[in-house]
């Protein structure tokens, strides 16, 4: 095939895959991509640290209105379900920490904040909207993806978290 067509064709295939990506869980859920990122509370955190728990991964930025709006709801979910084997990480995608720190100073939350300044993890997860929330089960499989946030979406998160909490490791 002519070299000139290779890239557009790859792009078309990628587009078709993106369109076909299921928003709901299927039996063949892929494993959640691994990551190891700096933790705001100090040290690093990697996805393997959380194996065996139900994990919610939220990609956010302080410049994103719906992301900021979602935080109090996420904090409530975290406090309620943490004792039952639920973990949440909020990955900040900004290139500098200053704006995120300022926002967190005004709106403190109890769940861990990780930093992905070079956007490697955002890329590996294929983040295509801000915010994006992924739900990972006890076996480390990527089960649900929620693009964007509107007040009321947290009800769906809770339903899916409870379902995964009931599953065995």
């Amino acid at each position: 095939m002519k070299k000139i067509f290779r890239f557009p064709l790859a792009a078309l295939l990628a587009a078709l895959v993106a369109v076909a990506w299921p928003a709901a869980a299927t039996d063949g859920s892929p494993p959640a991509p691994a990551f190891k990122l700096a933790n705001r509370a100090g040290g690093d955190m990697s996805l393997s640290d959380l194996k065996g728990q139900v994990v919610m991964i939220n990609f956010w930025a302080s410049w994103c209105g719906p992301c900021r709006q979602e935080f109090p709801a996420l904090d409530q979910i975290y406090s309620k379900y943490k004792p039952m084997g639920f973990q949440m990480v909020a990955i900040n995608v900004e290139t500098e920490k200053a704006d995120a720190e300022r926002f967190l100073g005004k709106t403190p939350v109890s769940f861990p904040i990780l930093f992905d300044p070079d956007n490697q993890v955002s890329g590996s997860y294929g983040v295509s909207a801000m915010p994006t929330t992924f739900l990972v089960d006890r076996q480390g499989r990527l089960r649900w993806q929620h693009r964007a946030y509107k007040p009321g979406d947290e009800a769906k998160y809770i339903e899916q978290i409870r379902q995964m909490l009931r599953e065995k490791s």
């Binding site: 000139i4 067509f5 890239f7 557009p8 792009a11 078309l12 990628a14 587009a15 993106a18 369109v19 990506w21 990609f59 930025a61 410049w63 994103c64 209105g65 719906p66 992301c67 995608v93 900004e94 290139t95 956007n119 955002s122 890329g123 983040v127 295509s128 909207a129 801000m130 915010p131 994006t132 964007a148 946030y149 509107k150």
Partner: protein, 75 residues
């Protein structure tokens, strides 16, 4: 080669208008600067619509002020 690639992708994007999940070259998490309030086309609509009125009342030309888009790309 690069401009031709870009053109190829652009044409494909145009052809696939029905799809809502095409790969953007500026990812949503890279829109920090675009989402900055100083990057808004029209930060103060009350003032800009007044100035548009000031000019249209005194010059022969009209229109061309339609503006939208940019922003945080959230949701």
């Amino acid at each position: 080669m690069k401009p031709v690639r870009l053109l190829g992708v652009a044409l494909l994007l145009l052809a696939a208008t029905g799809c809502s999940r095409l790969e953007p070259w500026v990812k949503p998490y890279e829109r920090e600067n675009i989402a900055d309030p100083i990057m808004a086309w029209d930060r103060d609509p009350v003032s800009s619509s007044y100035m548009r009125h000031v000019y249209e009342a005194r010059e022969g030309a009209r229109g061309g002020a339609g503006a939208s888009g940019g922003g945080c790309g959230c949701n």
